[in-house]
Symmetry: C2
Subunit: 358 residues, 2 copies
C-alpha cells in the first residue's frame, strides 16, 4: 500500500524523511555496530542525540538559559500531577481554565493535590471555544494559571495567550512548535511528543528554573522537576528511542525552516476551514475565532452521513478522520508533518461527497 494520509490525533503522522532515516540507521547506528536502541544512555552516541535534541528545541523555540528543557516519561498526563506537586504550595490556590476534555483532566488531578480555582469554564459549551482574557476570575496571589493551549478533542485553540501576574502554565501537547510562541511569557510549557514532535513515550517540559525550587523536600525524587534539571533528564534511563526520533523531527523542522512550517500550518487550516464554510453541508464545531489550526473538527447533517463520510474517506486512503468517541463528528488532525497535498486531497473529496449527499 502507498503511504496513506494519516489524520490521527496522536500518535500521528511523522515526516517520511524521518522514518526513512530511522529505518536506515536502525540496525547499525552510524557504524557503531549496534542500534541506537542498544546504545548506553551514558555513552557518547546517545549523549550526542540527547544534547542535540535539547539544543534544537532551544533554538526553534527561543528558550533562554532561565529555563530548563526536560524530556520526561509518562506523557502530558503525568504532568497533570507533577505540576501541582511542584508548584502548588500548601495553602496556595492554583487557577485553571476549563476549555474541554483535556483541561478537565488537568483540573481533576490538580484537585487531588491542592486548592484549585476554576478561573473560567466554557468546557461544556457547544460550539466549543476557549475563554477570553476578560472572563478570567483569577486568585489574588495564585500559584499559577493553567491553560490548555489547544483542545485536541474539541478543536478549540487559544489564539492569544492571557497576560497574568502568576506563572502561566500551558499544556501545549497538540500545538507545540506549530506556531510562534514567546516562551518568556510562560512559567512552564509541557507537551507529549506524539503529535507535533515525535512518537509517544516522552513529554517535553520547558520550565523556568526558579519554579522548580518550590517543591517540598519530602517529594519522591522522580516527581521533582529539580531532580531532572540537576540530572539533565538522565535521573534514570531516558526513553532513548523516542528522544532520538524527536531529534530527527527537530532537524527536519530546522531544515524546512520553522517559519515555513508555521505558515504552512495556517494555510493548511485555512484551506480546510474554507471547505467547511463553503456551504451548509459541513459545519465547524468550534467558535470561529477559536478554531484550532491543528485539530479541525466539524459535523455533517446526520450521524449516518458522518459514518458514510468516514467510510468512503478511509477507502480512499484518508485515515483517522473519525471524531473522538466522546464527541463524535469528524476530526482532521493536521500537525506539522501532515502534508499540504493531503489537505488538498481531502478538500477535493469533501466537495465531491457534499455534492453527492448534500
Amino acid at each position: 500500500m502507498a503511504r496513506c494520509y494519516n489524520f490521527c490525533a496522536g500518535p500521528a503522522t511523522l515526516p517520511q524523511a524521518v522514518l526513512e532515516t530511522a529505518r536506515d540507521e536502525l540496525v547499525d547506528y552510524q557504524n557503531s555496530g549496534m542500534s541506537i536502541m542498544e546504545s548506553s544512555h551514558r555513552g557518547k552516541q546517545y549523549a550526542a542525540v540527547h544534547e542535540e535534541a535539547e539544543a534544537n528545541i532551544r533554538e526553534l523555540m527561543g528558550v533562554s538559559d532561565d529555563y530548563a528543557v526536560l524530556f520526561l516519561q509518562g506523557g502530558a498526563s503525568t504532568q497533570f500531577a507533577y505540576i501541582p506537586i511542584n508548584l502548588l504550595g500548601e495553602g496556595q490556590t492554583a487557577d485553571y481554565t476549563n476549555s474541554g476534555a483535556w483541561a478537565a483532566k488537568a483540573i481533576k488531578e490538580a484537585k487531588l493535590i491542592g486548592n484549585v480555582n476554576i478561573a473560567a469554564d466554557c468546557g461544556a459549551e457547544i460550539p466549543t471555544r476557549v475563554p477570553s482574557q476578560e472572563e478570567l476570575q483569577l486568585t489574588d496571589g495564585g500559584a499559577y494559571l493553567h491553560i490548555t493551549s489547544n483542545e485536541t478533542i474539541s478543536g478549540a485553540q487559544w489564539k492569544t495567550y492571557p497576560t497574568v501576574d502568576a506563572p502561566l502554565v500551558a499544556d501545549m501537547s497538540s500545538d507545540i512548535l506549530s506556531r510562534p510562541v514567546d516562551v518568556n511569557q510562560f512559567g512552564l510549557i509541557y507537551a507529549g511528543l506524539q503529535k507535533n514532535l515525535g512518537p509517544s513515550g516522552a513529554a517535553l517540559v520547558i520550565i523556568r528554573k526558579e519554579l522548580a525550587e518550590r517543591v517540598p523536600a519530602s517529594t519522591p525524587s522522580m516527581f521533582k522537576y529539580a531532580t531532572h534539571i540537576a540530572q539533565g533528564s538522565m535521573f534514570n534511563t531516558p526513553p532513548c528511542f523516542s528522544i532520538y526520533i524527536l531529534n530527527l523531527v527537530t532537524r527536519w523542522i530546522k531544515a524546512q525552516g520553522a517559519q515555513t512550517i508555521f505558515d504552512q500550518n495556517v494555510s493548511k487550516a485555512a484551506t480546510l476551514y474554507g471547505a467547511i464554510d463553503a456551504d451548509d453541508f459541513y459545519s465547524g464545531t468550534a467558535v470561529t475565532d477559536c478554531r484550532s489550526d491543528m485539530n479541525v473538527t466539524w459535523r455533517l447533517p446526520s450521524e449516518a452521513l458522518e459514518a458514510e463520510f468516514i467510510k468512503q474517506a478511509e477507502a480512499q486512503g484518508f485515515k483517522g478522520l473519525k471524531g473522538h468517541r466522546s464527541v463524535g463528528g469528524i476530526r482532521a488532525s493536521i500537525y506539522n508533518a501532515f502534508p499540504a497535498e493531503g489537505v488538498d486531497a481531502l478538500v477535493a473529496f469533501m466537495k465531491d461527497f457534499g455534492l453527492k449527499n448534500g
Copy 2:
C-alpha cells in the same frame, strides 16, 4: 562496521532478528500505509501489538488471571515511588533488603513516603552479595518485603527467593525472564524493559490485582495501579514503540523456547566465571553463591590493567565492559539476547590478555 559484542548494562543488546524486523516494518507497518509509531494507540493495529505483548508475557512467565500485566512509563525508578504509594498504608511498615546500589535507591524513595524497616543490610559489603533468608529481620504485619532480584552494578543475584508471609515485591529489572520464576510467590514484580525485554521507555509491572485496592483515593490517577489495571495500560497514550519492540522480543523468546534461553544463560555465565576462576589474574566481585548470571563483575590486579583490558577489548569489538563508575572494575552484561559466541570470544580474549599481562 560489523555487529559488535555489546556488553552494556542497559540499554543493552537486542536480538538481531528483532532489529531487522523493526527496520523492515518501520516506514510501512504491515501495509497500513504508516509506521507503527504513527498508528493510533486506540486503533486495531496497535491494539493487536499491545494485546499480544501482554499475552506473551503471561505465557512465558506463567502469569495467572489473579495478576495484572501492565506496561507503564517512567522506568523501574518510578516504581520505587509507586510501590509505597500504593502498598504502604498509613501506620504500616514495609521491609526492604539492602543488597547494593539499586536496593538503596528503592529504599531512599520508600522512606520519603512511609515507614521502612531494613530487614537485612549487606549493601556495602565486598565481596558483594544478597542477604540470606535466615538473616531477614521482618516486621510483624509488614506491608510487604522488597528485594532487588539482581544488582546490576555489583553483580549479585538472589538465587532462591525468600519465603515470607507479607507480599514479596521484586525489582527484576536486570533478570526478568532470564530464568524460571514462580510468579505466584510474588505480590508484585517490576522491571525496566531495557535489559532483557526491549528498549528503554517502559516498565513491565506484574501485580496481584487485590494489592492494587489498598491505595488512598486521593492519589493522582497516574500513580495508582488500579487506574492502569482498569484501563489496560491505556490510561494515557502508552509508549507504543517500546511495547512494539517488547512484543517482537517476546516472540523471539517464544521461538527460541524460554527454557533454551534460560539454559543458555546459565551456560554463558558458567563459561565466563570459569575464565575468571581459571587463575589468580582475574577475581570475581560477588560471593560465589550470589554470582549474577546476567551481570558478571570482576577485577584485575590493578586499575591500570583494567583500563588497558577495556581499551584492548574495545578495539576488538567488545563494547561496554567498563564497570559502573561508582565501583570500577569490569562488568560483562550478558542478557538473554547476548550471543554465546560473544562470551566464547571474550573468554579467548581474556586468556590471551591474562597470559600477556599476568
